[in-house]
Symmetry: C2
Subunit: 486 residues, 2 copies
């Protein structure tokens, strides 16, 4: 059935091109006037025809010979190399390990491609409330933060809940202080600006350091790290996250009028840029080898606390092992599936940026679709999609094939694909792994990001969904439609 | 109604003594032949007659003028003094604060009673995996642990899941090693033996230190501390808890055959005993002033990590504030209600032991009933009871009065009253606060034990239940029956 359809599409009977780019189309073949989907019957039948293959993949990966392998390999990776921050020897050793094991798995065109990444090193870090009583304040310096002078600084505390509260305070009151920001959790997207901007905001009024409530809805006394950015022209001051609990305590005390001093010492230091590598392996297509590629991806780098099993070891592993399992099952689709394990994601999507730059000349021909898993590999729910209306209609059908995994939810637009946003924000279609990640930010960028978060069976289910979705997209008789904005 | 019944009981018409001790009774007035309860109608009516007073207490404490006060006072206490470990200046300052504020609240006979407590001091603590890669292992030394020699020790790792697995390993293999115990969580009671006994068990085979998986079902990279005990005759070795995640990682690596070394440095040191104080305040009874006392209690001391807001700041505060609110409402029962805020609980119930010893001569006359809250002050569910069959029948009725709090659950026997076990294990009746504490051990003895765990409204409900139950027991026309075993 699938082969017959391919021919119809190839000769254009269905009114759209079968491979490559489909720019500036007027007809939205997939939509009725009311915006609902109206796919041609032949295409619907083709997609539904993949159900037996999806079932077989799920059976082998979740219940069969591959069950547990994804978790085991992830555990071996993180137990052997630990955390994998950009610029670290551990990350480069982990990349070597991935390349060696991808080759052992029989992946094809296994290689690395260079990317320049920032090298920032956490040194000794300590924050002590020294007045009115002594209390250790666990902290994690934020990526790109400078350190304090040797011996640290001792300064009075000024605590606020929000930037708008801070705006109303005079420079005179702020000068020379350590400013504590204790914003309530309002979701990652809204709250993370405090992590990324606190130092700049505080510095503009003469603060000597900024401490931010960790960006998490729940805490057991754990600080969370992450990247921050100094705005142009501000004096750089040290910045770190403290625990939710301590930030709340400091805010309460400040509002009661308690005079407080903190001794802050941070030996953190930015070290310029170094070369890291994206790790790449393929399952080469039967028809298209280096065009219309389907990318499946996650990032191999992590923060330097915890071991990055969740962010993003799980996403990296399912992207790699999806190819391993398809190859072992003899399932080779028409188009190439390319697993890319990005580097330098945490500091600002550096691996994706380098890859985009290196592949930009042929990108419209080279890439058909981008998958990325970077928001957890808990129990899968379905796919989070971004693309044009036609592509969306096709994906709404594809996701229905995931019923054996009970993972047929479809959401759009995606917000879970940071590295592939280099392409998806310009009209390339893509998808992120929807999963039951309600607790994701409990562990994110903290010492809690370990194998304890990852469940072997859920990881199998995610790998199965990833392999099945990539296979169907890579094997369909048509490319996924796209409208590129340049 | 209540006054009339008192007379009947006092002259013995109902077949049991009205005050003091009821030893060696044959007739179980509260039980039918099948073991079900059969309380006299007059007693049932008397208990049910307290419903309007219970309703009034709930109304004032949860919805009225006292709402939020318990949380605010607890926050002030822990924000001002921080953690309150036995032997610390902070604990003694916190005791002074409680005494001053109890007096300001109008409590009566406010005073302290001395108790000898161990003084153990946590010093600098560090554990680093140094082979095969470098990783910081967050740890907390266990109460009473000795430290390492200056500069620490570096030793090879041997990791096991259980004592029974360890039993099968030869002394030769253990000698000179750091032993890691990584038992699965099987509830606190079953699992905590690893914390208390790991050093002794490991030392008997020549280990140089023991590291234990923190005693918790859930972790975000937080170590949990707690007391441990060296068995007689063993060579003392340093012992600490590491995180669940790291313990699991070390066990996996050991089972894969990875050679590992840990650099462990602990400056912890036992410092002998010092004098601390139990903090006591009363609402003196209208009839019985120093006999048939109803004790409501929690412990004021805490571990030295976090601030002990949950363990047991909440229990201590509701015990104190229950009296404050009853007094402010003009509700003075027949018997004295005595709030006792124990000291030195964490190291082994030292405050309770000293109090028992000091009050032992008259204890059967002095004490009617013991309440203790030391297992969380989350949303209340009811009461966890221990006592004889007659007392149980009475309490099954009393707990029904808590319907305005939706907290009418009754469980027996109690397992939540450590300090009052000095009496309840010998036949005195007592009760612990049943509450929705499923997450209690997530925070227990860790940096996560802070005000963030305590909810103002739940704390109000717990205080209301505590005040209402104490009032009813203290005002009933009869003492709660007991069978003392000496």
């Amino acid at each position: 059935m699938v082969s017959g359809l391919l021919f119809l599409y190839a000769i254009g009977l269905l009114g759209f091109s079968s491979a490559g780019v489909t720019n500036n189309r007027i007809d939205k073949f997939g939509l009725n006037n009311d915006g609902s989907c109206k796919l041609p019957d032949v295409l619907l039948k083709e997609i539904h025809g993949y159900q037996p293959i999806v079932n077989k993949i799920v059976d082998k990966v979740v219940n069969g010979e591959f069950a547990g392998q994804t978790w085991d390999r992830l555990a071996e990776l993180v137990d052997t190399f630990g955390s994998r921050v950009a610029g670290s020897v551990q990350l480069e050793k982990a990349i070597d390990f991935v390349i060696e094991k991808m080759q052992a798995d029989g992946l094809e065109n296994v290689h690395t491609e260079n990317a320049s990444v920032p090298h920032w090193v956490r040194g000794y870090e300590s924050a002590q409330l020294v007045k009115p009583f002594s209390k250790n304040l666990p902290l994690l310096g934020l990526g790109s933060s400078i350190g304090t002078p040797r011996g640290g600084i001792i300064a009075e505390v000024l605590a606020v809940e929000s930037f708008s509260e801070f705006d109303k305070i005079s420079e005179e009151k702020v000068r020379g202080k350590i400013v504590v920001f204790c914003p309530p959790w309002e979701g990652y997207g809204r709250t993370v600006v405090y992590r990324s901007q606190a130092a700049s905001v505080a510095s503009r009024k003469g603060a000597v350091a900024a401490l931010v409530r960790s960006i998490t809805p729940f805490s057991i006394g754990s600080p969370h790290t992450g990247q921050q950015h100094y705005q142009d022209g501000v004096k750089k001051i040290p910045v770190a996250c403290i625990t939710v609990e301590d930030a709340q305590m400091l805010l309460r005390k400040y509002r009661r009028g308690d005079k407080m001093e903190i001794h802050l010492e941070m030996e953190d230091r930015p070290m310029g840029s170094v070369i890291s590598r994206n790790s790449i392996g393929e399952l080469v297509g039967t028809i298209y080898t280096n065009t219309s590629v389907v990318v499946v991806s996650g990032h191999l780098d992590s923060w330097d606390v915890g071991v990055g099993a969740m962010d993003d070891g799980g996403g990296a592993l399912i992207s790699w092992k999806a190819l391993t399992y398809l190859k072992a099952m003899g399932l080779r689709p028409r188009r190439t599936i390319r697993a890319i394990l990005w580097t330098g994601e945490e500091e600002g999507l550096y691996g994706g940026a380098a890859y985009k730059e290196a592949h930009k000349l042929q990108e419209q021909k080279e890439f058909n679709f981008f998958f990325e898993s970077d928001i957890g590999t808990f129990e899968p729910r379905g796919l989070d999609f971004v693309g044009n209306a036609d592509a969306e209609c096709i994906f709404r059908e594809i996701v229905k094939l995931m019923s054996p995994l009970n993972a047929t939810e479809f959401e759009t637009p995606t917000d879970g694909g940071p590295d592939i946003s280099h392409w998806t924000t310009r009209g390339f279609p893509g998808a992120s792994l929807l999963n039951k990640n309600e607790k994701y930010f409990w562990f994110h960028h903290s010492a809690g990001d370990t194998m304890a978060v990852e469940d072997p069976r859920n990881l199998d289910k995610c790998a199965a969904l990833w392999a099945a979705a990539a296979y169907v997209v890579a094997d369909l008789s048509i490319n996924i439609p796209k409208d590129i904005q340049e």
